[in-house]
Symmetry: C2
């Protein structure tokens, strides 16, 4: 597949792994490695080498047969694909514990993302300064010139849809939702969901599976 043909249609599953590859490559570069095989990079990223090679083939990537990949070159290519050559503006709505933790998180501001605004519906929080930014009302957000590229929602569940509607009206087209609620948004808005309680429940499922089933028919619960 040529690089140009690859431009449309990188599979979602592949996109979800690109950040991991990029991280592994960055770590390798810092250790001074200049060339890396699919086997090594896959191990560092937690996937199989065949998967890595297939993923990279979707980018029209260019390794060297018999040798491997140039670390810097591949890192630049993936960063480009992910849009990390630009800087993306981020607004965080909801400054409870989680929102504050995210505002302070260096992984956000560190790599291509800049938090440009903070907002909260709670009037006792509005006006506070968090990480050097004044917490605004949702209404005040509209006064910014160009809308932020990404909105992060860290409000309670019952406010999440309202906030999402507001962000969409503002022109935000990508939303990262930490509230445990299903958001409905127009088709052209991308939403990703991080649900902490859900993660624990999934682990609980596996934990429960270890135990030999004690009750022969749990499905008999009334």
């Amino acid at each position: 597949m040529t690089a140009e043909a690859a431009r449309r249609g990188v599979p979602e599953a592949t996109v979800g792994r690109l950040p991991a590859y990029l991280r592994a490559l960055t770590a390798s570069a810092e250790r001074g490695t200049t060339s890396i095989s699919s086997e090594e990079l896959a191990a560092a990223s937690g996937v199989r080498s065949s998967q890595l090679r297939k993923d990279l083939s979707h980018l029209g990537s260019y390794g060297v047969r018999g040798v491997g990949y140039d670390v810097d070159r591949l890192a630049a290519q993936i960063a480009g694909e992910l849009g990390l050559t630009r800087e993306w503006s981020v607004v965080i709505v909801g400054l409870g514990n989680l929102g504050r933790a995210l505002a302070a998180y260096s992984g956000f501001s560190g790599r291509g993302f800049r938090i440009v605004a903070l907002a909260d519906a709670d009037s006792s929080i509005v006006g506070e300064t968090v990480q050097g930014l004044r917490v605004q009302t949702l209404q005040e957000l509209a006064l910014v010139g160009t809308p932020p590229a990404i909105g992060v929602i860290t409000t309670p569940a019952d406010q999440a849809q309202l906030v999402a509607d507001h962000l969409v009206r503002l022109g935000v087209r990508s939303i990262l939702n930490f509230a445990p609620s299903v958001l409905s948004v127009p088709d052209d808005v991308a939403v990703r969901k991080v649900d902490l309680a859900m993660e624990l429940q999934i682990l609980a499922f596996h934990e429960q599976r270890r135990m030999p089933a004690v009750h022969p028919g749990r499905e008999g619960v009334r």
Copy 2:
């Protein structure tokens, strides 16, 4: 498929959606609904009705044809499947901003999960009281009788593997990893990863895709 046959092998993808169904059912029950169709429940959970029915069929679920599902009964069945009838103990390692936010998060302690211990490698944090618990050293954790069921890692990336090794030695068999690093653990330990920077990068990819490609050959980066 009978309920008994369903006991082995609920697909991972299905397990990942069960918490969403349970949440929607709980919300319905609170609004006083006693019966719900696959169409309604699917809409509230953000999936298609055919998917919901297929998922429930893996549990050997029992709705009523022509009517729908009994809300309380189905909620109890899913909660049972997820192991939420037991209470699971949780230890959080790493009490930076994120660890503290999680310690305070009601979604954790709220539903079947109890934080029983907190630990940190930083001696300036050890001894502090957070959410009513004294922050311990990793070594002190070993003194608890039965190991916690679930370990949550919210340390910097470079300590995550060390902490994971320690938790595994303690007997922890399920790990929720917020550090941006690949953990290697024995096969019988379940790991789930939540990577905040990765989520933003995936959104950046989609955001970038909206823009018409400005440079005809970005792959020419040297």
